[in-house]
Assembly symmetry: C2
Homo-oligomer: 461 residues x 2
Amino acid sequence: MPAQANVRAEISALIEHKDLPALKKYLEPWLPLDLAPIIADLPIEELAALFRVSSREVAATTFTYMPLEAQRKVLRALSQDQVAALLNALPPDDRTAFLNELPLDVAMQLLAMLTPDELHVAQSLLAYPEHSVGRMMTLDYVAIRPEWSVRQALDYIREHGFDRETLNMVYIVDEAGHLIDDVRVRRFLLSPLDRPVRELMDGNFTMLSPIDDREKALELFQKFDRVALPVTDENRKLIGIVTVDDMLDVATEEATEDIQKLGGSEALDEPYTTIALSRMVKKRASWLVILFLGEMLTATALKYYEGELEKAIVLSLFLPLVVSSGGNAGSQAATLVIRALALGEFKLRDWWRIMRRELVAGLSLGVILGVIGFLRITIWSYVFPNTYGEHWLLVAATVSTALVGIVLWGSLMGSMLPLLIKRAGFDPATSSAPFIATLVDVTGLIIYFTVALFIMRGTLL
Amino acid sequence: MPAQANVRAEISALIEHKDLPALKKYLEPWLPLDLAPIIADLPIEELAALFRVSSREVAATTFTYMPLEAQRKVLRALSQDQVAALLNALPPDDRTAFLNELPLDVAMQLLAMLTPDELHVAQSLLAYPEHSVGRMMTLDYVAIRPEWSVRQALDYIREHGFDRETLNMVYIVDEAGHLIDDVRVRRFLLSPLDRPVRELMDGNFTMLSPIDDREKALELFQKFDRVALPVTDENRKLIGIVTVDDMLDVATEEATEDIQKLGGSEALDEPYTTIALSRMVKKRASWLVILFLGEMLTATALKYYEGELEKAIVLSLFLPLVVSSGGNAGSQAATLVIRALALGEFKLRDWWRIMRRELVAGLSLGVILGVIGFLRITIWSYVFPNTYGEHWLLVAATVSTALVGIVLWGSLMGSMLPLLIKRAGFDPATSSAPFIATLVDVTGLIIYFTVALFIMRGTLL
């Protein structure tokens, strides 16, 4: 493939010379998928020229592969008639996705350009809530009647199936359009032509409702290994289908949301590289501020122990180490539990089993860190005498005992809080990180000073 | 659906009464998918009875839906002949997945029970590295010749296609088996029967190599919206296909790995709820210890500032707050950048663009937290006079100035370190969290005390 810059230069030159036949010929071997990113940066007049010479089908496909900004540029560049032609040629689900990105008034203007049929399609898709199955479904499917023969079905498909989004599944409906079954196209291919469609049915199918959340669709696709699932209304009437290729995007987007939330931010809902800076700062600031307000409690707690700190300044040296170890253990446990919850590995009523596991795990991890901490202080005190004063052994005992307690506490909080938060009806991925960080840090301090008061009373304190 | 316990009791009763015909009849309406989890807990003799009365096909499908432990129980319960029949009836890719879970010697024993044909299939799948395309591919595909007519192709599919994993794509090969094109079955359905296959081809297809990583396959599936992709050897000979339903699992597993790594743990590679506790503790301890060793540098840094701490004990009150804010900002930025990298949103050479964005974002976030910190100390000092001494204004200035610097620093490190780590050839998700936590905490302390020395010199310090 020639370098993008060369291609752009070549296209620009052809447009400048108004050599539209040569331009058409130059574009012919390109796939819309490859062409879209290359032409996205072209000036607006050149984009308009490009879309005018392309066939309606190629133009529509190329359009679906372009970034939103470039799509809007294209629409500004084209005449009303050309926009209408392009919009009408777009696949319904891509058109919905595009319209959803636009401000409402712009979307309405564009909707007005659709033919009555396409408008009906677009409106029915847009009426469903965001992230619902209704937004993702396509109305291009093949529905046939159970009393037909395989030959009739294949003939029907051959005649009517050209625009259909997926031909891997055929839907069997009664005269009122109620879904009776879905059958893989392969079964039609593998059956004698005179067999009735009814005999190919196994009555085994799964339906989605248009108001189902897309996460539910994802779950069903993963469970049933289907390439498409039918969407029906409350009367079981077939109203559309959802295809598996859209599910890959859903799986990726849902994971991205969870990852961003676990990272202590609101979900960006837009690519990191293109989201407006002000919008990103807003989404990041909200949780950062909540975390900050929570962490302020550490200053309050420390103020309470100010007297101890003054007497044994050595305690403050290990403050960040001890506190952050609890935080690390907590976020580790929380991440594992939240992901396992998202994957449906266990139910809330299994909390006791999780807690028992985390008790053992947290204790083991705490002992490991405690031993290392003890060794560190001991070795330093031998190698650099007087680093931690004459009572270094007490310091070592305090730090390592506190570590065991704090890591155990962090693991328990990290694993149990997400369950509580889910029980209360909130998204564990959203709310756990800040609560755990705050809770573990503040209580970690209290554990640290309590252990210190116990071990050092009469000597340092 | 009746409650699981009832079903199990019913099955047990029928087996106890040796009423195998009634058992067979009772099981008939069940789908393997629904049956598998219910029977997984049955005692070993009852499982054996169940598998003996089921048809070979139903037994094999039920087997694929059972958890690994139950699968092993079934194999122990059956006779050698029955095991051989079951293994030979399993779909090749499910068999590979199962064999991969077993210890090598057990897997080898089982391999020996396969028919020569199935053994060949299993071995060729097992020879590929873990997480490679070769491990996921199935050898059940339909390959036809370009000189055939559509009618010949459809007849061939009708005759030979019964065992094929996917019939959505048909592969066109030359006489030596080299892949020439892939064509959707729908095109065959939509074309006149006497049209030559050659005319249905568009020469536009994408291949995978069996040693490609499954992440690459996922990327291609997402880019091209295909239900199956062909796998070819170095000579472009067709050796298998990979289907999109397996990709949904890959997308979920890869996201789980990244989430667990970002949470400061090794990827568990097993469900959280079933992994052996010792193995989980090992995987969690490794990173927790590395983090701990890194965080020890905070004790070293604080030792260096012990004199300042002694003079102004008030500084230690805000130590955890200031340090953890830097850590939060850093992990937030790192999470966003690592996910954007994983999604291919930008390339390493775009680092300067990312850095510019993080400069602005980090500065804004730092100023927001700085202002809140300043207000907190000011208000407290008015409401509870003498909390932070007579120089509370200097304390407020120190904390808020340090916050701006530390949050900015955290955002920059959080966004740039993953890029450096990726540049060095490592997985940014694995290695970033500990490095960023350590780096931001230690440098955060230095920033804090440097600001303090600058602002408080001559008064508190």
